[in-house]
Symmetry: C2
Subunit: 376 residues, 2 copies
């Protein structure tokens, strides 16, 4: 089977390396910028790929919204199946891609958009054959997990740890997508849509870890808690909620012990119970591996079906829990002391918690917030 790669960066090269060791699959075309086309397979002319009838699957690993969106649409409209690692474009256009694929007898594969090499989307789809999934959650961003883990283990503060992550290539020069939770938001929207069969929208409240300090980590450690940036979603009685925010977890939980830049993702199914999946959430070979697994699934006849038809109402109250604020903003009347310089608001939902956090940030831009969910 002949495939084309769009974008020859970290992930595209990983795909090419992995496919070169397999029989039955061949990368015959690679799309890149004109000045980077250094070998015969490479072209900067996408039309020549879309119109090539020998190409059965297009692997989009360019990232960003455009031209990725246009290229994916053109491939699907040409009846080619698409494998993508691009969480931003799928989170923004999931429904449009799926409808276009169905109309053109093509398929959309998205394993590599969430959790790198972890078989997360495939596992959700598999569990759903039998079970209703009530919860999903996870550490889905390796950069921020690396930062938090290094801050704890080395006693370093945020800025110097971020700089080291950038030096190691774990964080971008502009780190906002990671540290402000945008990357996790996109992954949470995608995984929630697949798990709950609903069109999970962008109303998900999002808070990152930009203001996290070593002192915050010490404050939680004194109470046996570890802060992690989590994406979470739950559905119950025809409603659903999703959030992305720092969460303080028991030090003995699996999540609290995920080190370095690893990811862990969880679901809860009606009969299978809780399942958790741990692995490399990013990187050339792990993410390339996920894309090639999608290609092999396609070759084996797997045709993933996504269904966004369930009219679930967004109700953040389903994720209501206690929230801790470390801020110089005066404690509201309904808040309780939590620790020196920090107070706690009981049983609030993530949207209200985010609104209160924005008030705190307006008065004290260094403020930090974390959810304190009950253990299941």
């Amino acid at each position: 089977m002949k495939i084309a790669i769009l974008g020859y960066g970290t992930v595209g090269r990983g795909v090419d390396t992995i496919v070169s060791g397999l029989e039955g699959v061949e990368v015959t075309r690679i799309l890149d910028l004109p000045d980077r086309c250094t070998e015969p397979r490479m072209t900067s002319d996408y039309a020549s790929i879309v119109s090539d009838p020998s190409i059965e699957v297009v692997l989009e690993c360019m990232g960003g919204l455009e031209p990725a969106h246009t290229f994916i649409m053109q491939a699907l409209q040409a009846g080619k199946s698409v494998v993508t690692s691009n969480k931003a474009v799928v989170a923004a256009h999931f429904d449009e891609f799926v409808r276009t694929a169905e109309r053109n007898d093509a398929c959309l594969f998205i394993e590599a958009t969430c959790g790198g090499g972890i078989p997360w989307i495939a596992s959700i789809l598999k569990v759903r054959r039998i079970d209703k999934i009530s919860n999903i959650s996870g550490i889905m961003n390796g950069t921020t997990n690396f930062i938090v883990d290094a801050m704890i283990k080395e006693g370093a503060d945020f800025a110097e740890t971020l700089a080291r992550a950038q030096h190691l290539g774990y964080a971008e020069a502009d780190p906002s997508a990671d540290i402000d939770g945008i990357d996790v938001k996109n992954k949470t929207i995608i995984a929630t849509s697949v798990a709950f069969s609903c069109a999970c929208t962008s109303e998900v409240p999002v808070t990152g870890i930009r203001t996290l300090t070593k002192a915050d980590l010490d404050l939680f450690a004194a109470k046996g808690l570890v802060v992690k940036l989590l994406g979470r979603a739950v559905q119950r009685n025809g409603r659903y909620a999703a959030s992305v925010e720092p969460v303080a977890l028991p030090a003995r939980s699996l999540e609290a012990n995920v080190a370095a830049n690893f990811n862990i993702v969880s679901l809860k199914g009606a009969t299978v119970g809780p399942l958790k999946f741990y692995g490399q959430g990013a990187g050339s070979l792990p993410t390339g591996n996920a894309m090639v697994q999608d290609v092999l699934d396609y070759a084996a006849g797997t045709r993933p079906r996504y269904d966004f038809s369930r009219p679930l109402d967004f109700d953040p109250a389903l994720l209501a829990c206690d929230y801790v604020y470390r801020t110089t903003m005066p404690k509201p009347d309904d808040a309780e002391p939590f620790a020196q310089g920090a107070w706690l608001v009981r049983n609030t939902d993530p949207a209200s918690a985010r609104a209160l956090f924005e008030q705190a940030l307006a008065q004290d831009p260094t403020s930090f917030m974390a959810a304190l969910p009950q253990e299941d």
Copy 2:
């Protein structure tokens, strides 16, 4: 699709419950003992199931070697595919079952033999499409994990914790298969055979946790270590090793934080890197779920291929590491002190370690041994 269940115990009932909520699959026959046949689907006459052309898949959840072995062979010889949760019979007859299935155009599905509801065998087979797997390991027995976890959290000793596990239904009246590591040995043999494409044999050294005391756990805890019963296997340069034994792991590892009766299984693939899978390793609905997933895979056209053709030599030295012995047997000359009443032998293989442990047990039947592997 019509299926038959052999054995209507914990797992068989779980399968029946789950299938009753699905469309397209129907349990039309159930084999049980004559005095337990209480409804029209039930029979004690296996010949009537094997000869029923409407039955496409037989689900064996009786456990034990016979008559399970004979029944599975008869189903395969009749061209019916078999889904089994029976680790003992698969570990003993894996190669024979696979050859018989191939000769009769039938399939063997074994997800439920290892790790209950965790998609472990399917994940190994999936990873193997791309990667060579160098390592597998795992906490694959919920009963012993429950016992160790409860001993640590409650400060209780082995006998009373085992009694409580029996009371809760987590341990059998005769607990030897669990606490002596036999159950983990069967699962390790199966997973190793699938992961490495070799006929993993019964020469795996096995040590259980029968002699574990609260004082042992305290001794390791003082060094930041937690004891877990692990099955492990590794392959390198045309050789492989496997072992089942107590292993002392860093308290911050994921394995050390697996609580209650949960399981975690790990593999390392060449490009995907480390992957870990956590979930319910046993129980009516999780194990039933794994069997029904196998049925749905069969219905979707999945045909698992097992290959035992690689002539890997068994070389326990591949798993060589340090071992700790808590025993009154005098310290051998090449051993070092480890703690009060315990000594350490450096860089020995699991077969030699087991042989030394048998010497220790002969002199002090309360002796305990644990491996101290290097962190990866």
